[in-house]
Amino acid sequence: MPNLNKLTLKEALLGIKEKKFTAPELVSDCYDRIAAVDHQLNSFVTIVDKETALKQAQKVDPSLPLAGIPVAIKDNFLIEGLRTTASSKVLDSYIAQYTSTVVQKLISAGAIVIGKTNMDAWAHGSSTETSDFGPTKNPWNTNHLPGGSSGGSAAAVAADECIISIGSETAGSIRQPSAWCGIVGLKPTYGRCSRYGVISMASSTDSPGPICKTVDDSAFVLSIIAGHDPNDATSIDQNSWLYPSQSISDLKGLRLGLPKAYFPSEIKTEVKEATLRAAETFKKLGAEIIELDVLDPQYAIAVYTVLQRSEVSSNLARFTGVRYGNDRSFFAKEAIRRIMLGTYSLSSGYYDAYYLKAQKVRTLIVDDFNNQFKKVDAIIGPTSPTTALPLGATQGQAMFGELEDMLMEPSSLAGLPGISIPCGFANGLPIGLQITGPQLSEDKIVNIARLFESNTDYHLQRPQL
């Protein structure tokens, strides 16, 4: 079978099981694809040596749940012995001394790490344009950005350079690039996946999660990487979420909320129309669509800006070049901006007005969601107000990331799970739909997403590179 890299996870696992092809063949096809297209895309910061990966694929125990599956990992996840840079020159030659828990679970499940993917440096962004190693290009149109900060992971999946990938989201960084690249991004409940070994951005919202080709794929990967970790005091100890085997056939009785505020003035017309069409699809499947009045997202933007930048300013204090990496003169502009604003909002005289105030408004955001979820079972809306923006769109923008992710900041601040799935196209660029539920409701939103996917064919489209 040619072009095994184009398979979904489900198809790849079945193919290996039925001995239609081998794991090394699958891995090899991915490497061929990387060699063919990555010079155009720049999805990867580090590509694992092909021979090493093939050897691992040969030796892997075939009974493992992800045996032989090539996975691309966002470059803020540490993997022992591999270069880990967070796409910043500060960590240009840093070789990790330990492996993050999420990656360890993937390796123990038999997955084959083929590379570390490009990102906005330190995850500071929604475009991957602030990478110190050049932006990643959107496979659908290489004059456009893939989104961020997990842009490399999203591009790698959309371009079939790998079968599955892992990203992380602080507010939008899994879902938004998945939307811009026409694939599935699943941001779990905060604490569902361990943050141990993931370079911290905003400790109180960072969430590792899968970026994959289909809803089923992302659900399966989540079942492997989720789970309590004693090394992460914020990881939740609800039972590891199991891959739901019970899918649903319709949405009768389901109430889906559609917030008015999720259609801001900045929203692109095609995005709005695609979202409304998706709402119609849900209606046809039996759901009730309820218009919601939610707390104005402008507050979430302010809260997120303050909290994230404050935590960033502290989390990046360990990078001084003494024990590892280069010194602080290697920080680029975006990191400097964020560290400075964070230091400012925590500094004496401003703590009450900014940091503490933001944490109080965060309570209002959490309370608002709790109230909304009394009226509806899940909330839908566009993932991003636009489709993929052209290269250069972020230059000189002091708050590009925070403004771009306005539709996801509220749910991220509340620690809620959310999924983005393809729901249309505009000028050849994908449009994403987000579905958000209360904490721990991944099974519900996955089921809704899967049903939508099986009633549409956007997820079957692939970019022509």
Partner: protein, 470 residues
């Protein structure tokens, strides 16, 4: 001019937990090879996360209770942000708004010294400054990074350098008593920083001075005394009074016996404290606090009071209570007796011959002490001292040893009179000397002792000779 010293003490106590505060590295770092007890967490590697040590938190509360503190049931950790190479994360995880323990009080030299707080935090690594190949460098060892510390802050209630030293002694004693730290100042498991200023004429206050680098209890005493003198003179010379912005830090130079200015404070440092997002908040239940309280041993002050109730002197009571292990051994020998004389007897043995050897509680047999006590009139004081040591070493009943070594003194007055009469008859010159000078009886006593092969009770011998020679 009336000068009233105002002294506060900040003490850091290194807990002797097995593992560090936020990771599983071995917390014992003294003399370990550099950077051999480190991990991603205490080395501040990218992506590492802290998880608090339950025992360390329990011990902070235990110490708080021993210091008479109230315990904050609800508490959390915070980040104190500043840059220094020995602080690997660029922030220290500590407690600011909600320390585990607050508002305590201990009595020192008759003074009530209030404790503001006893909170939990992590230690930094160690830096060594040296010149290598002509360049000034700093060498860093992170074995100590992340070791649990309790910071005890007193109110400025301490009125003199001497009381400061006593306060530190007391803290050291309590901490050792409850078994949470070795509190060894030389080894650095207890560190202190005094803050000193003066009240002049009950009206004016001199600027606050924090003194760093005091490495011994004597050092604390000397540094504070020096600082009091220095501030007094400075006030006389300059009349500068305390303000919100003129607190300074001075280092103690033990060699030169002076404090020197370390840096001017341009306002206080901005540590940008905020709650630690990587560690969820902590809530201790009433039951848990009570269980910790119940695990407290009898504290030194209580023990001293109890010993004094056995009619022991202040000095003896303090000496016996000073070390928890030593006092436990003493009490095993005492075996719940309430007899004042017996208590005094055992005390004298403990602060006498038994203080010279290293004691193990298993080898103490209370019956031995009782036996010697009951026969003490028949034994010389030298014999008693030897017997207690011998019976401890060999485990043989002292009465048997005394019999076999013929140590029992004869107290039978009849027998002694017999020997005395013979001595008087045999020594007419000595008798004549005695008639002239009663103090010369010593010779006759000596003769009697020799005649009895040392077994006569010398006091009785003297009495009987005097009676016969009247």
């Amino acid at each position: 001019m009336k000068v009233t010293p105002i002294i506060g003490l900040e003490v850091h106590v290194e807990l002797k937990t097995k593992s560090k505060m936020f990771c599983g590295c071995d917390a014992s770092h003294f003399h370990a090879q550099p950077n051999t007890h480190t991990c991603p967490v205490c080395l501040g590697l990218p992506g590492a996360l802290p998880v608090p040590n339950k025992t360390a938190c329990d011990w902070d509360i235990k110490l708080g209770l021993a210091l008479g503190c109230s315990i904050n049931r609800n508490s959390f950790f915070e980040r104190k942000n500043y840059f220094y190479p020995d602080l690997p994360k660029g922030y220290q995880i500590t407690q600011l708004q909600k320390p585990f323990a607050i508002n305590g009080k201990i009595k020192v030299d008759g003074y009530d010294i209030r404790i503001n707080r006893a909170h939990m935090e992590e230690d930094t690594g160690k830096s060594v400054h040296m010149t290598l190949d002509g360049k000034d460098v700093t060498l860093l060892d992170y074995n100590r990074s992340g070791v649990p510390l309790v910071e005890i802050v007193s109110e400025p209630d301490i009125p003199s350098a001497q009381v400061a030293k006593s306060y530190l002694n007391k803290i050291q004693q309590i901490v050792r008593y409850i078994g949470i730290s070795d509190a060894d100042i030389e080894k650095g498991s207890m560190r202190c920083e005094p803050t000193v200023n003066l009240c002049i004429d009950d009206k004016y206050f001199t600027p606050l001075v924090e003194i760093k680098n005091v490495a011994s209890l004597t050092g604390v005493l000397n540094a504070i005394e020096f600082e009091i003198k220095r501030q007094t003179q400075e006030y006389i010379d300059s009349n500068i009074v305390k303000s919100d912005t003129n607190k300074t830090t001075r280092g103690w130079d033990a060699d030169k016996s002076l404090t020197f200015l370390q840096r001017e404070k341009e306002g206080s440092a901005d540590y940008r404290y905020f709650p630690e997002p990587d560690i969820p908040p902590i809530e201790y239940s009433d039951d848990e606090i009570e269980a910790i309280r119940a695990s407290l041993p009898e504290l030194p002050d209580q023990k001293i009071a109890r010993y004094k109730s056995y009619n022991l002197s202040d000095y003896d009571a303090n000496l016996l209570a000073d070390d928890a292990v030593f006092s436990a051994i003493f009490e095993k020998a005492l075996n719940n007796s309430t007899d004042f004389e017996f208590a005094k007897f055992v005390t004298n043995l403990f602060i006498g011959p038994l203080k010279t050897i290293s004691l193990e509680i298993e080898k103490i047999n209370p019956i031995f002490f009782k036996n010697i006590f009951e026969h003490k009139k028949e034994l010389s004081s030298t014999a008693i001292k030897q017997l207690i040591l011998d019976s401890y070493e060999t485990g043989i009943d002292p009465l048997e040893i005394a019999k076999s070594k013929n140590l029992f003194q004869v107290s039978d007055t009849g027998k002694i009179e017999e020997i005395a009469k013979k001595i008087i008859a045999d020594n007419p010159k000595a008798v004549a000397d005695y008639q002239k000078n009663p103090l010369s009886i010593g010779f006759l006593i000596g003769q009697l002792m020799r005649a009895s092969a040392g077994s006569a009770n010398p006091q009785l011998a003297k009495e009987i000779l005097e009676k016969l020679l009247k």
